[in-house]
């Protein structure tokens, strides 16, 4: 086994989280918004854990990319977005789908490949979509969806609405060409779009800093597209919420696109097959101490929410996730009748007469 840090990334110096910003206790965020964010955080966490458990039980087939540890970003943005806004996510999209109100039962059923899944079992874990909720898709070949989000923003601009399109992506996406094409066009056309980089420090299995020319994969590129470099603690829902509210408002006022880099950390590996052993143990430990759930739990206690209230939220979410699990497991396998449907807008797949 190599013992050189160049080949074993777990021997590198750990990259540690910034301390929690205590000033955020005084942020002008109504307590009902904070409680809703706490509930959403719990939902995303418990959903992710349940998806992981069901994978281990061999109920979730294929692959699955969880957001465990990263829920603060989807929570903060989800709370700041309006119902008509558009979300575009990657294969790591479960949290973003739930943050827009996608039913957890229908989402879990999709992971199980069941007929009652939100996509009827045809999309799977990497493509959660619910257009009625503004969840415009999870795109599993990274980069493309930034360009697609531009199109939705362009559409809103042409239709004269105040909708904003938000594209979420990982740090790895910042090195693909579509990222740069999208940022340039968004600025040239002053589109109401927000690009949100969830920088979890690793592009799949490789530390992002080893493959990126600048320290901050998103914020470090912002100036090239005439945008403000914005960096936020992605594990602090209040911090994310405040930034989200500001950039969404900017987009609604017609002032153009923004690029946000939210620093966060995966508590697990890249996908189901990855135990994440390439990370320095001290780094994993430090980020476990900066997990959004206990962080936000403490925040809410500090601003005067009783422990009992938070406990009640946690229990209610647990019941909802249990119910979602039962709903998903009760779903039937999709039948042959759906195999050839919805290739074309006539509902079928016929390509010749």
């Amino acid at each position: 086994m190599p013992t050189d840090y160049r080949y074993d990334y777990s021997l590198r110096d750990p990259r540690l989280p910034q301390p929690v910003d205590r000033e955020l206790e005084n942020a002008p965020i109504p307590v009902d918004v904070r409680l809703a964010m706490y509930r959403k955080l719990q939902e995303l966490r418990q959903f992710g854990k349940r998806a992981h458990d069901m994978f281990l039980q061999n109920l979730v087939k294929g692959t699955t990319h969880l957001s465990l540890g990263m829920e603060g970003v989807a929570t903060g943005f989800g709370a700041a977005m309006r119902p008509g806004d558009y979300t575009f996510a990657t294969y790591r999209g479960h949290a973003h789908a739930l943050a827009r109100g996608v039913d957890p039962g229908a989402a879990l059923a999709e992971l199980l490949g069941r007929e009652n899944g939100v996509l009827g079992g045809k999309g799977g874990s990497m493509h959660l979509t619910d257009v009625a909720k503004g969840m415009m898709g999870s795109y599993a070949i990274i980069g493309a969806h930034l360009c697609i989000a531009n199109g939705a923003a362009w559409s809103a601009q042409m239709r004269g609405t105040d909708q904003v399109a938000v594209a979420f992506f990982g740090d790895g996406t910042t090195n693909i060409g579509a990222f740069h094409e999208a940022l340039n066009m968004a600025q040239v056309w002053r589109l109401p779009v927000v690009f949100v980089c969830e920088n979890n420090l690793y592009m799949e299995y490789t530390p992002i800093d080893l493959v990126t020319a600048v320290e901050h994969p998103a914020a470090g590129r912002a100036v090239a597209y005439g945008m403000e470099p914005i960096i936020v603690d992605g594990n602090d829902p209040d911090a994310v919420y405040l930034v989200a509210a500001r950039v969404l408002d900017r987009a609604r006022r017609g002032e153009g696109p923004s690029l946000v880099e939210a620093i966060t950390y995966r508590s697990g590996g890249h996908s189901r097959a990855d135990p994440g052993k390439y990370r320095p143990p001290a780094e994993v430990e430090a980020w476990a101490g900066h997990d959004p759930i206990p962080l936000y739990h403490s925040r809410l206690l500090s601003v005067g929410v009783p422990e009992a209230t938070l406990g009640k939220v946690q229990r209610e979410v647990a019941e909802a996730i249990d119910a979602a699990t039962e709903f998903a497991k009760a779903g039937r396998e999709p039948g042959e009748s759906t195999l050839l449907t919805e290739v074309y807008a006539d509902g079928g797949s016929r390509w010749r007469n």
């Binding site: 045809k122 697609i148 989000a149 362009w154 042409m158 919805e342 390509w351 010749r352």
Partner: protein, 330 residues
């Protein structure tokens, strides 16, 4: 009735549809102020303004992504990719995002959009600006694929493509741009998935697409002098594919020739031949024969390019030789 060139027909067709639907927009490199590098969008900026006819950066992924995002949120779009070879730069958008998303989402999204692109050889541009790539698009489930050969078909099929709720890749042939033909006054709207018999015959069927159509027609005229009555079909649309028109013709004539500009391997004619083989094999009097560009990148030199792309004489000689031999029309 006006006499329009193929290139004028493109702008004519787009204008017809932009007048009909005030939400229809178009975007692409040099399409607005410059009127397109092939001058196929001249006058559209003046009539419809910069919000509906937009110049873009050289960013094919951003162009097609913007078209996709707009289409899926209710704005019909025409996107231009300057040369069809450049589709490879944004093929993820077309083959993975646009073509698959309707199926993956179980029908939650639709893409009322047309991707127009200048296709094919004959302009001595060399390998990266000349290929016929209609077979690339044909093999992707979820796309529709159209390639007109005349000005009136440009207008009518473009209108049909724009009005279609599915994504359509619309191939305009570079070497047909100057070709002229009559276009009726008023709105012209055709139907996707309809081939057209442009010359009737009883001895052989020649199925051709785009630039190959006038060449097949001319070859058929010469074959007539040699005593062979060739039926010529302008396939017009690869998806949906009007196999009935082709099958009926082959059942009548007993012989099929395809004339394809795409490189041979996995060209559209291979699919047509396999369908004929499966469905009307017992009506055949001899093997189906594909006349194609060889499996090579296109060369730039005029002499070489002319050898590569099926020419009138190659079509004529191939048919003549095939029907003179065993299994011929006798």
């Amino acid at each position: 009735m006006a006499e329009l060139s193929y290139r004028e027909a493109v702008a004519h067709g787009i204008a017809q549809e932009m007048r009909r639907d005030p939400t229809l927009v178009m975007l692409g490199e040099d399409v607005a102020a410059a009127g397109g590098v092939f001058k196929t969008t001249v006058g559209l900026l003046d009539e419809f303004g910069p919000l509906r006819v937009r110049d873009t950066p050289i960013s094919e992924q951003a162009i097609i992504g913007a078209a996709m995002g707009a289409a899926m949120t209710g704005i019909p779009v025409i996107a231009e990719i300057m040369f069809s070879d450049f589709l490879a730069v944004c093929w993820d958008m077309i083959a993975n995002e646009i073509a698959k998303s309707r199926y993956m989402t179980n029908g939650q999204v639709s893409f009322p959009m047309v991707i127009r692109t200048a296709n094919g050889g004959g302009a001595r541009f060399g390998a990266q600006h000349s290929q016929s790539v209609e077979n690339w698009a044909m093999m992707i489930p979820g796309l529709k694929v159209v390639a007109p050969s005349t000005p009136v078909d440009v207008v009518g099929l473009l209108a049909a493509a724009i009005r279609d709720p599915d994504p359509v890749v619309f191939f305009e042939h570079k070497s047909l741009m100057a070709a002229k033909g009559p276009v009726p006054d008023g709105d012209v709207v055709d139907t996707l998935g309809t081939a057209r018999v442009i010359r009737e015959g009883t001895d052989v069927t020649i199925a051709a697409l785009a630039l190959m159509v006038p060449r097949a027609f001319e070859a058929a005229t010469r074959l007539e002098e040699a005593g062979i009555a060739a039926e010529v079909i302008d396939v017009r649309s690869l998806v949906p594919l009007d196999t009935q028109t082709i099958l009926e013709s082959v059942s009548k004539t007993g012989r099929l020739f395809t004339v394809e500009e795409n490189p041979r391997v996995c060209g559209w004619g291979a699919e047509v031949v396999s369908i004929v083989d499966e469905e009307v094999f017992w009506d055949l009097d001899g093997p189906s024969i594909r006349i194609t560009t060889p499996h090579i990148p296109l060369p730039a030199a005029a002499a070489l390019e002319d050898m590569a792309i099926p020419a009138v004489n190659r079509i004529y000689e191939t048919v003549l030789k095939s029907v003179d031999g065993p299994g011929g029309v006798g």
